[in-house]
């Protein structure tokens, strides 16, 4: 898996400073979005997917595990949150908590099965598990099959913040995204993250050094699942619906695409990738029938010409880690 990611420079003072600057720029830009007249719903949606892609990237970029079933966490959390809000009438914070917990639980169960395999087999087993889940969601009545759950009430977060107001919702989503992003950043740079990178580079050696690699991988998998679920729960408030598309394998493919376009194993890559792909979906919608062709062309160009992704290429050019 080493060829997947460019060399990650050792965490030097300069690298940390670069990342801090990049983070400040990103957070600053995102904070002023509502003032700029950029359509906030688009940015909110992109933020949810950005968090999802970051969670996915934690697994592939730093753990070397390519999951082809990450949509199952997104969808599960979405369904749980949607159901809790609409049918049980719980408060938004409890809804998010339940959804994220649901994804985490699913992460534990599927992780125990999937983590035992590597490489392409890991990808395939996660794909299979997510297809099973798709089937279950198609059959269980609470998801309403292909109609999905719509018209989900947004409610008041902590009883104070009215999430039906776009600006309030925007800042809540942004706070959620930044929280998740920093958590991932912290994880990557922790001793735990270092062990993960060691496993990615050379698993037998990590084992011989006395690390229980399976436990590390499982933990990374569960963390990634939980954060993906968190993104799914947040997305419910933006889209106000939960549907089967979020559990379908093509959604898992889209997550891979976002991360690849932005740059695998880069910290900011998945965020950029998510914005690019969501913007494409949104703005290409007007191109009608040529949408898929354009998407395909972007895929091909991306793989053939800038394999490191947008951020990866920039980082490589300036010899920085981003």
């Amino acid at each position: 898996m080493t060829v997947l990611t460019d060399d990650i420079l050792p965490t030097s003072g300069r690298a940390v400073r670069d990342e801090m600057i990049a983070f400040a720029v990103m957070a600053g830009l995102l904070l002023i979005v509502p003032l700029t007249g950029v359509y906030p719903f688009f940015v909110m949606q992109a933020l949810c997917f950005a968090l999802l892609a970051c969670a996915f990237n934690l697994l592939i970029g730093y753990g070397g595990l390519l999951s082809f079933g990450h949509a199952m966490f997104l969808g599960t959390a979405g369904y749980v949150t949607a159901h809790a809000l609409k049918v049980w009438g719980v408060s938004p914070e409890l809804g998010i908590l339940l959804g994220t917990a649901g994804a985490a639980a699913l992460g534990v169960i599927t992780g125990l099965v999937a983590i035992r395999r590597q490489g392409i087999y890991f990808a395939m087993i996660t794909l299979a598990l997510s297809q099973l889940l798709y089937f279950i969601y198609l059959q269980t009545p609470f998801t309403h099959g292909e109609d999905g759950i719509q018209g989900i009430p947004q409610g008041y977060l902590f009883g104070i913040f009215n999430l039906a107001r776009p600006t309030t919702l925007y800042y809540v989503i942004l706070a959620g995204f930044l929280f998740g992003f920093l958590l991932i950043y912290r994880t990557i740079n922790s001793p735990f993250g270092e062990v993960l990178k060691a496993i990615r580079e050379n698993e037998p050696r990590a084992i011989s050094l006395g690390y229980k690699t399976d436990q590390y991988k499982l933990l990374a998998y569960i963390l990634s699942a939980t954060l993906a679920g968190f993104a799914g729960s947040l997305k419910v408030f933006v889209a106000q619906n939960a549907s089967l598309t979020d559990v379908h394998w093509s959604m898992s493919g889209e997550i891979v695409l976002m991360t690849l376009v932005g740059g695998l194993g880069t910290i900011f890559g998945p965020v950029v990738g998510a914005f690019v792909i969501i913007a494409m979906q949104q703005y290409l919608a007007g191109f009608g029938q040529w949408v898929t062709v354009i998407q395909g062309v972007i895929f091909v160009t991306c793989v053939l010409t800038f394999r490191r992704g947008v951020i990866g290429e920039i980082a490589h050019y300036f010899r920085r880690s981003l």
Partner: protein, 402 residues
């Protein structure tokens, strides 16, 4: 003329300019949101957009000096994409009404956005009768057809004609199950019997196994409670396995002209189906279809024809009410009878359903067909009362029960 916004400021502006059409020339914007790259492309897609364009051209491209514009988008059959496009259209691009939306899942999601923004949405593509039932909206209209009408139309007619034992091939999702349930009720009500059903996963590449089970049931009629590719495959393979030549008959519960065109008469002959429009019904439908054909090289499906009618009716309502305010236009659309080449004295009901006649057709044998697109023979024009859910049975909360 921008309508009720989310904020008080916008609402105030809307009030101030509610009747501002003559003062400043503003544009009236229509959005067509449908599938342009997936399985529902043929039944509406770019042709559907063009049908709306024809209606706009026929209205002279402007109403009271206000230009009419059309925007269109592909919802890619994803509720997420559908709702975000709809939201952006209503919020940012000031679209006044959205049309079409085949795929019930996307349609139900957009219905909620339209309800929240209090803007008009007119469905021509989606089948689910929930759109005017439990999920009805004061600003939503289901124009062309619904599952209730299809089930009643085909189910009752076929059962009365002697097809009194049924076996269903049901697409295993909400739409298929609803179609099966409604049809089964009609069959039993008319003295028929349902011998069994098999639930087939969506987009099965092979139906032979299910068809064999249908054959073994010895039912006279095999009801196809599915749509699109599934219907096409099941009809094709029923012919291959000699089921249709063996005496059993197929009843298509949701079949479009575009499906028959792609299967061919040889395979599809004898199939009975219900639609609300066929190009070759009378002089008026032929006149419209001729125009449509010259532009699109295809005869229009009922969804495309319905889109023309819906846009025409909407624009007339804007004209008579002198406004694009959702409530005023809805009131005018309900008050005016619907009259165009495919609809005679139709009515937009309080739950949003358009009350219209439907037609039961049988697919012609190849030797009966005089040329391309000559596919259906009319068996019966079904009066609106038989194919519309009675208002007192409606689950819609807008219906005043008294």
């Amino acid at each position: 003329m921008r309508l009720h916004g989310i904020s008080a400021l916008l609402a105030a502006t809307a009030l101030a300019s509610g009747f501002a059409m003559s003062a400043s020339a503003e544009t009236i914007k229509l959005g067509v949101l449908n599938d342009q790259s997936g399985v529902y492309t043929d039944l509406s897609g770019p042709g559907g957009v063009d049908a709306v364009r024809m209606a706009v051209e026929d209205a002279g491209g402007a109403i009271n000096g206000n230009k009419i514009e059309i925007v269109s988008a592909d919802h890619q059959n994803k509720p997420d994409v559908g709702t975000s496009v709809a939201r952006q259209w209503y919020d940012q691009d000031h679209v006044d009404a959205i049309f079409d939306i085949p795929n019930s899942g996307v349609a139900l999601a957009v219905q909620e956005v339209a309800r929240e923004k209090h803007k008009i949405v007119i469905f021509s593509g989606p089948a689910s009768s929930d759109l005017t039932g439990a999920k009805c909206s004061p600003v939503g209209i289901q124009w062309t057809y619904d599952t209730y009408g299809l089930a009643k139309g085909t189910g009752a007619a076929v059962t009365k004609a002697g097809g009194d034992t049924w076996f269903f091939l049901t697409a295993d999702y909400a739409f298929g199950q609803a179609l099966e349930r409604d049809t089964a009720a009609v069959v039993t009500a008319n003295g028929g019997k349902v011998l069994g059903e098999v639930r087939t996963p969506l987009a099965s590449p092979d139906f032979s196994s299910f068809l064999l089970q249908a054959q073994a049931s010895k039912a006279k009629i095999i009801g196809l409670a599915n749509a699109g590719g599934d219907t096409v495959t099941s009809i094709k393979q029923a012919a291959e396995f000699g089921i249709t030549s063996g005496g059993q008959k197929l009843a298509g519960l949701l079949v479009f002209l575009s499906d028959i065109n792609s299967i061919g008469l040889k395979t599809a002959q004898g199939l009975e189906l219900t639609e609300s429009f066929y190009w070759d019904l009378n002089d008026e439908t032929r006149a419209f279809s001729k125009r449509f054909f010259e532009r699109n090289k295809k005869e229009p499906t009922m969804v495309q024809a319905g889109l023309y009618g819906a846009a025409k009716h909407y624009l007339e309502a804007v004209k008579t009410s002198g406004s694009t305010d959702a409530d005023k236009v809805m009131a005018a659309m309900r008050a005016n009878p619907v009259n165009d080449f495919m609809t005679k004295n139709g009515k937009v009901r309080e739950d949003g359903k358009v009350v219209r006649d439907m037609y039961l057709f049988e697919v012609k044998k190849p030797e009966e067909s005089k040329g391309p697109w000559d596919y259906y023979k009319l068996i019966r024009q079904i009066p609106a009362a038989e194919v519309t859910r009675p208002i007192e049975e409606s689950a819609c909360s807008l219906v005043k029960k008294g």
